[in-house]
């Protein structure tokens, strides 16, 4: 304990021991940990009863609360958290000071700088009754590292370099992202650069510019400055900052970022010294080099979690679930620090369940070292949220219904805020929203917090979100249209989330509609898992609503995913059900789609005859209904079957017919497939030049449409072609490129085939490395 604090403690103990009819004492602190330490020390040293009164938004009248304790004369009452009950608490204290005096108790008001100033100015009658102010502030004490520091190597290096360059620098980021910890570590490492010393000022207590100058003056010039007038004090400090390299850290700067005098002063700090502004808000006025800190990389978050959990006595049970828990916590260090010690008491699955229910679960009210706004994740975010303008708060709350962020194109229509630019910029400035140049995104925990703030309006905004993305999917149904594809590429995660929300809201039709429009896109992009879940939801929705037609259609869609994933028996079962429904309802076109899909299953199983039968039946139906696109698909598949059966002429004929139709109807994705199949046909025939020509055409379309699976397949075929031409190095190059492209998809079958090729050519499989 520092000498100043020790002396203040002694003096307070003396007062509380000797004041026979009580006293009013003001205890000034700037760190919660210090307050707790001093209160504990007082309790140890006093013989009379000590009561604690904590004010809150609900409990604002300290006089009533003290009265309810029924303290006896001579008892000590400690009053905490006055700011939470401002301004009412000040009025109660000011107007009812005599009723407290009459109780002959000693009242110790624990106040931070802001509370002290408010008390002095707005409760002058009460303040006039004080015996003295007891100073427990810590400004002249070195920073004590109170936390473990893990990861962040890159950020630490960059911040240390910024400090080395001197001048003003800004470290910004979302509350709880670990700014203070990083700043502490960086100042510890760069400490030797600042021969003049370092002062750490916690601006959470809203110190005035005079108080900051005084604190820095005491640290760099000495106690003498306390007795100087403000102007002279500032001059002496400025001289010191100019003469020797000093470091001022202004932590939690967002609390005083509106103080224009403060900003002006910080800007004038001598470049020989450094000022590190640590703030949730960006501070554009300073025009200073700024480092924005994001959530931790997942592996570092997991490492931090495991370290903290083990320190708390966790034995490593269910360690494999830790990454999932960190993901739920958005890899936010504060959330991880709050959650990790709890796995020593609760299973990870239970913890996940609790967090899913309420983010208030992410809290640690018991840790004496935590500052007030770091005792729960909600409290942490509230500090920033409460400072937003009403427009910005509305924007953030409305955006919170969207899990995957929004583009500039969708933010206005979705939130129904036409003039969204300023509120969005404000949210970004307060680090509650991220903008990567294309999309505005909210950290998952901030999103949960903001969603809760919607209160009764939450359901209404979830409904709007669902409708908005249903319409978006409906308006962009054509995967052969590049502009439709671009929209879906940006928003498909939100569309899926809309389907999930619709399921929660019990809107079955909406789930079915979204699955119908988004299914093809997900298949094109190789999003098998997402497609499978969406189609299964659609099947459930159709069954729940008794919509047999939709059930049949959804089962048919589902079978395609099963087939891609090699779950052929599941696919066959789904298709049998789908076919049965189509027959029952007499829907021939639906039947046709199921037949072609069943043909695909048979084809995968080598059941060529049955596959051909299915394709022929489908072809017949397509022709009956003039479904040219379907006809092109059926012919393409028939061509493949003929090829497999060695019927080369029929194969070429079918494929050429398919290509013609697909080109006619503008089915570019289908055209790509047929070109690839034709290439395989020519390859089998040894017609190398023709094969290469159509493979290149197929490749071009794949690349134009971002069809990575198609591109990977064609590249693999080009590898085989090169092998056939005796150019093994080119073959290896194509195969490796195919693996790189396929790695961005969930397609495993083709990847396995390519790996086999590479193994045959004696090449290490890069895919295996990247798979890790």
């Amino acid at each position: 304990m520092s000498a100043t604090k020790e002396r203040s403690l002694e003096k307070l103990v003396t007062l509380l021991t000797h004041a026979q009819r009580g006293a009013f004492a003001i205890a000034l602190y700037d760190r919660l940990s210090v307050r707790r330490e001093m209160v504990a020390a007082l309790r140890n040293r006093l013989s009379q009863p000590v009561h604690e009164v904590h004010l809150s938004e609900q409990e604002k009248n300290p006089v009533d609360l003290i009265r309810a304790l029924e303290p006896r004369a001579g008892d000590v009452v400690m009053l905490f958290d006055m700011e939470r009950a401002f301004p009412d608490a000040l009025r109660y204290l000011d107007f009812q000071r005599e009723s407290l005096t009459e109780k002959n108790i000693s009242l110790v008001c624990w106040v931070n700088r802001f509370e002290h100033r408010e008390l002095a100015q707005k409760a002058p009658n009460f303040y006039a009754f004080r015996t003295a102010v007891f100073d427990f502030t810590t400004v002249d004490e070195p920073v004590v590292l109170e936390r473990v520091f893990i990861g962040r190597k890159r950020e630490l290096k960059k911040l240390t370099e910024m400090l080395e360059s001197k001048g003003v620098i800004v470290l910004t980021g979302l509350g709880g992202v670990g700014k203070t910890a990083l700043a502490e570590e960086a100042t510890r490492r760069a400490g030797s650069l600042f021969a003049g010393g370092m002062v750490w000022i916690n601006c959470e207590t809203r110190p005035s510019i005079d108080e900051i100058i005084l604190s820095a003056g005491v640290a760099f010039v000495g106690e003498l400055v306390r007795q100087l007038p403000p102007d002279e004090r500032r001059e002496r400090l400025d001289d010191s900052l100019h003469d020797r390299a000093c470091l001022i850290v202004l932590d939690n700067f967002e609390f005083i970022a509106d103080d224009s005098d403060m900003l002006k002063w910080v800007k004038t700090i001598s470049p020989r010294s450094a000022a590190m502004v640590v703030s949730r808000n960006s501070v554009p006025y300073l025009s200073a080099p700024t480092m924005k800190l994001d959530a931790m990389p997942s592996d570092e978050a997991v490492e931090l979690f495991i370290h903290l959990a083990k320190n708390a006595g966790w034995e490593g049970k269910d360690e494999e679930a830790v990454p999932r828990l960190c993901e739920i916590a958005g890899d936010l260090p504060l959330a991880i620090a709050m959650l990790a010690p709890r796995v020593a008491e609760l299973s990870i699955s239970k913890l996940e369940e609790l967090i899913a229910r309420n983010i208030e679960t992410i809290s640690d009210a018991k840790d004496p070292l935590r500052e007030e706004h770091h005792r729960s994740i909600a409290a942490c975010f509230r500090v920033s949220f409460d400072r937003l303008s009403e427009d910005a708060r509305n924007l953030l709350m409305r955006l919170s219904v969207v899990p995957d962020g929004v583009s500039e194109r969708t933010i206005g229509p979705l939130t129904e805020i036409e003039e969204w630019h300023h509120p969005a910029a404000e949210c970004v400035r307060f680090s509650l929203l991220n903008f990567d140049g294309r999309r505005y995104r909210i950290h998952p925990l901030v999103r949960r917090f903001a969603l809760a703030q919607l209160g009764d309006a939450m359901e209404e905004w979830q409904r709007r979100f669902v409708d908005f993305f249903r319409n978006l999917a409906e308006e962009n149904p054509n995967i052969n249209d590049l502009s439709n594809l671009a929209v879906l590429d940006e928003e498909w995660r939100n569309v899926i989330a809309a389907a999930e929300a619709a399921a929660t809201l019990g809107d079955h039709d909406l789930v079915i509609v979204i699955a119908h429009y988004l299914g093809e896109f997900l298949l094109l992009r190789g999003k098998w898992l997402e497609c499978e879940q969406l189609c299964e939801s659609a099947v459930d929705a159709a069954r729940a609503s008794g919509n047999r037609k939709a059930e049949g259609l959804s089962l048919s869609h589902l079978s395609v995913v099963y087939t891609h994933r090699g779950r052929l028996s599941d696919a066959e079962r789904a298709l049998q059900q789908s076919i049965s429904i189509s027959q029952e309802l007499g829907i021939k076109q639906g039947l046709g789609r199921s037949l072609i899909n069943l043909g695909n299953v048979y084809g995968q199983q080598g059941r060529w005859v049955e596959a051909e039968e299915m394709y022929n039946k489908d072809l017949e139906i397509c022709r009956e209904f003039s479904d040219r696109k379907g006809e092109g698909a059926a012919l393409n598949n028939l061509g493949l079957i003929h090829k497999e059966q060695g019927n080369w002429a029929r194969a070429e004929d079918a494929l050429r017919q398919s290509l013609k139709i697909r080109r006619e109807v503008g089915d570019r994705i289908g055209e790509r497939g047929t070109l690839n199949n034709l290439g395989v046909f020519y390859l089998n025939q040894g017609q190398w030049a023709e094969a290469e020509k159509v493979f290149q055409q197929s490749l071009a379309i794949s690349r134009e449409f971002g069809d990575h699976i198609g591109e990977g397949r064609t590249l693999a075929n080009l590898a085989l072609l090169s092998e056939g031409l005796g150019d093994q190095s080119n073959a290896i190059r194509f195969a490796q490129e195919a693996l790189r492209v396929l790695d961005t998809t969930q397609e495993e079958k083709v990847k396995a085939e390519v790996r086999e090729l590479l193994a045959r050519w004696g090449q290490p499989s890069e895919a295996q490395t990247s798979m890790k």
Binding site: K11, L15, R21, A120, P124, A128, T131, V133
Partner: protein, 406 residues
């Protein structure tokens, strides 16, 4: 016999404690240039039901002076004390003041200690008015048995208790009082005249703590509702916020009241800086009547007196804090070094109160010793960085503790 230990000093100089009437003889010290004598003379010689505004700095000793005045005038007046503290200071208004004055008058006149024999018929009329017109629809009830004056006494206690604390009761009663406030004052006036007739002493109401409301509330009360505040036939002294004296409106509205008396701080010098021995002597006596000079070392006592600026509560706090430091340090006496620590602590407290514009204004007043009525001066008077004195002329100076900051 003054106490002679530091622990006694700590307890005797408690900035929260007001002097009690039984302590007056032991501790009261007559202040030079105080307003008490002229005010007493004015009250004694005036035949009118005068209304007096009495102002002074927070902690300058107003309550003590009024306690002394009440004691000295006890033979001439039927003194009744009222405090605005029993009301809700946050939204004090004129009907609250009228009700408090009437209730206090009724309470004192019906108290068994004072035994004022007022005809029962008048009390019955008052009781009927209070129960039928004012307290109806509230939880306030009248005892079923007992004399009519006993019933009024009980009823008034109940009104005074609930009006300040129960919002619902206060709101209901206020709604009933707004159209009936003149009737209430008439009832109080009738009682007032009867007290005068029976006791031979006209009632004098000392209404304290009105100056502790915020300025907007005080302004509304004193300037907008002066007629109601003047309607009583009682003589009334209202404590009045000193900061309101520094407004142009005050000069215009002063005529609504009979007289304004200012209780200045004890001046330790004249405006030219020539030391005022009377002031020093008075403050020294304030201390030495309670504690022996022996607990002070060397010039420490004078140092405290000088540093207090003549503001009574700061003098009290400084002795208290100095005793506390001496006790903490285990030293037998308060020396100048300790006093300087106390002063440094109080200087720090002022840092929380002074705003950027205050420093220039204070520098100017330090040079001119004149207080110009404006918002900055008003704020400085309010936060006690600026003190007002009156020797032969009224003048101002910066609190000595603040001066090193300028």
């Amino acid at each position: 016999m003054p106490a002679n230990t530091l622990a006694d000093a700590l307890n005797l100089f408690d900035p929260r404690r007001q002097m009690r009437v039984e302590e007056l003889d032991a501790y009261y010290v007559k202040r030079p240039h105080a307003a008490l004598d002229p005010m007493k003379t004015y009250l004694r010689t005036s035949n009118q039901p005068v209304k007096i505004l009495f102002s002074g700095h927070r902690g300058c000793g107003k309550s003590t002076e009024l306690l002394r005045l009440a004691k000295d005038l006890d033979d001439h007046f039927f003194v009744v004390h009222v405090s605005a503290r029993s009301l809700n200071l946050a939204d004090l208004n004129y009907v609250d003041v009228a009700l408090s004055c009437a209730a206090a008058l009724f309470r004192e006149a019906t108290s068994k200690v004072r035994r004022v024999r007022i005809p029962a018929a008048l009390w019955r009329e008052v009781l009927g008015f209070l129960t039928n017109e004012i307290t109806t629809e509230t939880t306030i009830t009248v005892p079923q048995s007992g004399s009519v004056s006993g019933k009024i006494n009980a009823l008034v206690f109940s009104i005074e208790g609930k009006y300040g604390k129960e919002t619902a009761t206060r709101d209901t009663m206020r709604q009933r009082l707004y159209p009936r406030v003149n009737d209430l004052i008439q009832q109080a006036n009738a009682v007032c005249e009867e007290i005068h007739r029976v006791t031979g002493r006209p009632p004098l109401i000392i209404f304290e703590d009105v100056d502790k409301t915020d300025l907007a509330t005080a302004r509304n009360l004193f300037f907008e509702h002066a007629t109601t505040l003047n309607s009583s036939v009682c003589r009334i002294i209202y404590t009045f916020p000193i900061a309101l004296c520094y407004s142009n409106e005050f000069t215009q509205r002063l005529g609504d009241y009979n007289k304004h008396f200012l209780l200045p701080n004890v001046s330790l010098s004249d405006p030219q800086g020539v030391s005022n021995a009377d002031g020093h002597r008075a403050l020294r006596e304030v201390i030495t009547r309670r504690v022996s000079e022996e607990i002070f070392d060397g010039a420490a006592l004078d140092h405290i007196i000088e540093s207090s600026g003549g503001l009574m509560r700061d003098l009290v706090r400084m002795v208290c804090d100095a005793a506390l430091i001496a006790l903490t340090d285990g030293v037998p006496k308060i020396d100048s070094k300790i006093v300087e620590q106390v002063a440094a602590g109080m200087r720090n407290d002022f840092r929380h109160l002074l705003l950027p514009g205050h420093y220039d204004a204070l520098r100017e007043i330090q040079n001119t010793r004149q207080i110009t009525p404006n918002e900055t001066a008003r704020q400085c008077l309010e936060n006690l960085s600026l003190l007002e004195y009156s020797n032969t002329v009224v003048w101002g100076d910066v609190h000595p503790i603040v001066k090193p900051l300028l």
